[in-house]
Amino acid sequence: MNKTLHVALREFLATVATKGFLIGMLAPPLMIGLMSVLMPRLLKNDAPKIEGEVAVADPTGAIVGRLEAYLSPAAIAGRREATRKRVEAQTPEALRAVAERAGVAQANQALDAILGDVPLLRVVPVPAGESLDAAKDALRQGEVADGGRLAVVAVHADAIARGEDARAFGSYDLFVRAKLDDRIEDEIQDGMREAIVDARVEAQGLDREQIESLTRVPRVRSTTVTAGGEKQTNQLLNLLLPAAFMGLLLISVMTGGQYLLTTTIEEKSSRIVEVLLSAVSPMQLMTGKILGQMAVGFLILALYAGMGVAALVSFAMLGVLDLSLLFYLGLFYVLAYFLIASFMAAVGAAVNEMREAQTLMTPAMIVIMIPWLLWMPITRDPNGTFAVACSFIPPINTFVMMLRLTTTTPPPLWQVWLSIAISVVSVYVALRVAAKIFRIGLLMFGKAPNFATMLRWVRMA
């Protein structure tokens, strides 16, 4: 046993204490962190601060004034402030505190500070008598930054009042300068829509506010009613939580498994294996290696799961997580890992180099991908016949069970434990088979074996 632990310890240290591992493990969370800070800035929806002129050919005479009001700097700033307030109202308290502390508090700027940031768009009418082509000519000269004409809007004559027999209103044409920021164009389009609607409503002698209140039905958040009580449905979370748990399970299991495969092949191809076998039995060697890499996978699991829990705590959303799920995550990790690991150990011992392993790995990879294909159907109907059946088929049962456990309607306990029992049995069988292939494969050099050869070894041993 002592020797097995020495093998496990070396395996763990040799894997973890490398630059590659540290980078590989820390990179994903760093990327996510970086993205969550950078992306909102890069994808800021606010139109940039530029100066320019929007010329409007307006045969109806009702548009220019309204568009001018909509595009005035004060109006733009006002809309931004409103958006900010709405976002803030939806942001959880904890995150707001974090955001403010981190200095991302730009959002808290006063209205006049925002005012300094908005585009200055002058709305001018195209003088009567000037042709549309002449108005567009200005768009061909100079640059966006010159502060000249940015766009020309040609309002259709029937945009506001339609003919007696016409079913539809007219609209408008928009001509813009090359390289005009699409967010400026969005502002203009939004302004035109607003101006036209407003003018049409007024032309009909109706009350705009009344129409809006008549047509507004907000989308509500549903409340999930369960035996345990009622709680607000969080659709996104309901989908993401299972995916997160299964993803964690898969990443940690595959990382440990991959390392196991690599180190086994390395030991075999560098011919160190015979030295090792003179000191430990093949079974001790395999057990030690599997345990060592299990610790590696567990480290990853603990780190990522820990970060997830920390994030939930900071969002004050720990309530969505039933802590017993973490227990099952650990348990299913061990079961799923042992199954994958026995496969990896057998393949690693059987082949001579990584390239040969790829051929044998393909079917395993396909099996591993199955849970991802099942994610949606199982999360939608976690207690359907299909989901229940999949929970009892190794090697995917652990992943499927993890999915089902994290949905809003977890499976009955007997199914969970039946699935665990099936896993335990399959792990036992897999380890025994793997041990035989491992023992024979380690000292077999030469032609790369296929599954048939490996089966023969199992019968031989």
């Binding site: 020797k3 560098s270 160190i272 015979e274 030295v275």
Partner: protein, 323 residues
């Protein structure tokens, strides 16, 4: 004294090919045994069976009083023919790891590793990664890994392959030192001269069967010398008078020296006198048979292709010496 290793009627085949056939072998404790034979004779298979890395199809094996080497692993040191190191591991960490796997409890382990590295002239690479070492250096590290736990039984499979003459001599000294510590040592080689230099006792294996199992001295005594080395006093002298002698079977030129084979049944002492009388010699000596000669003589009885066999053995020896 008890026997370190006992093999009784051990047979092992790989498919159709019988690698070892009905091998009987007894190696007493404290002896230095050489396993010799050409490549593919069955040496490594025998050693792997002694180590319980392979298992015999038939027969009984006893190692250090146990039915299997698995029960005595920590008392055995093993340098396999196929040997390697963890490329990324540091030399001292690698040796400590192997020592621990061999049951060392870790007390003073660091000091022992340093002492051994100093002994093989590798003190300054202790902190380097194994992949940074030359092949010869790696081989010395592997030897240290085999002896660091002071085993009672030391099994070395082709320990000299790939070493330069200086390191070959160093390794020979280290093996003899282990012998003086009264460890039982088995080492295999296909280069007979190496076995001749250090072994008390030689076991010769050919085609999976034992052909010879005796002390080096007895072997030499048993195979009486039939080769005379001759250099004429006058380098230009004709050797025709020698070839004409009735006791002489043939004269061959090997590296500037004439090797005169004495006819079967003729007395070598009289042949020496006759040769000296025929052509005045600058050098005239009765060559003692080497293990190679003995080996060739044994195999000669069963096959015709002895020249190629001898050439193969020589070629390997030259490669070994020149490496």
């Amino acid at each position: 004294m008890a026997d370190a290793i006992v093999l009784e009627k051990v047979t092992r085949s790989f498919g159709e090919f019988v690698a070892v056939r009905d091998l009987d072998l007894v190696i007493p404790q404290g002896k230095l045994y050489g396993f010799i034979g050409p490549n593919g004779a069955g040496k490594t298979t025998t050693i792997r069976m002694i180590m319980s890395i392979l298992f015999p199809d038939r027969g009984r094996i006893e190692v250090l009083g146990h039915a299997s080497a698995l029960e005595a692993k920590d008392r055995i040191g093993y340098l396999p023919e196929e040997r390697g190191v963890y490329k990324k591991m540091r030399v001292n960490a690698f040796l400590s790891y192997i020592a621990r796997l061999k049951g060392h409890d870790g007390a003073n382990l660091g000091r022992r590793v340093s002492a051994w590295l100093g002994k093989v002239g590798l003190a300054d690479v202790a902190g380097k990664r194994c992949e940074e070492l030359s092949k010869g250096m790696q081989q010395k590290v592997q030897f240290v890994a085999a002896v660091i736990h002071e085993p009672e039984l030391l099994i070395l499979d082709e320990p000299f392959s790939g070493l330069d003459p200086v390191n070959m001599r160093l390794l020979r000294e280290l093996i003899l030192e282990q012998h003086r510590r009264s460890a039982t040592i088995i080492f295999s080689t296909h280069v007979m001269s190496q076995a001749e230099q250090i072994c008390d006792h030689v076991v010769m294996i050919h085609k999976g069967s034992k052909r010879l199992d005796d002390t080096v001295r007895d072997i030499r005594a048993r195979f009486d010398p039939r080769t005379i080395l001759f250099e004429p006093l006058d380098p230009g002298a004709s050797l025709a008078p020698i070839e004409a002698l009735p006791a002489v079977r043939a004269v061959a030129q090997v590296a500037g020296v004439s090797e005169i084979s004495v006819r079967e049944g003729a007395d070598p002492a009289q042949a020496l006198q006759a040769i000296a009388a025929a052509v005045p010699p600058a050098r005239l000596e009765l060559r003692r048979p080497t293990l190679e000669d003995v080996f060739v003589q044994i195999v000669e009885g069963e096959e015709g292709a002895t020249t190629s066999l001898r050439a193969a053995l020589r070629a390997d020896a030259v490669v070994e010496a020149g490496a």
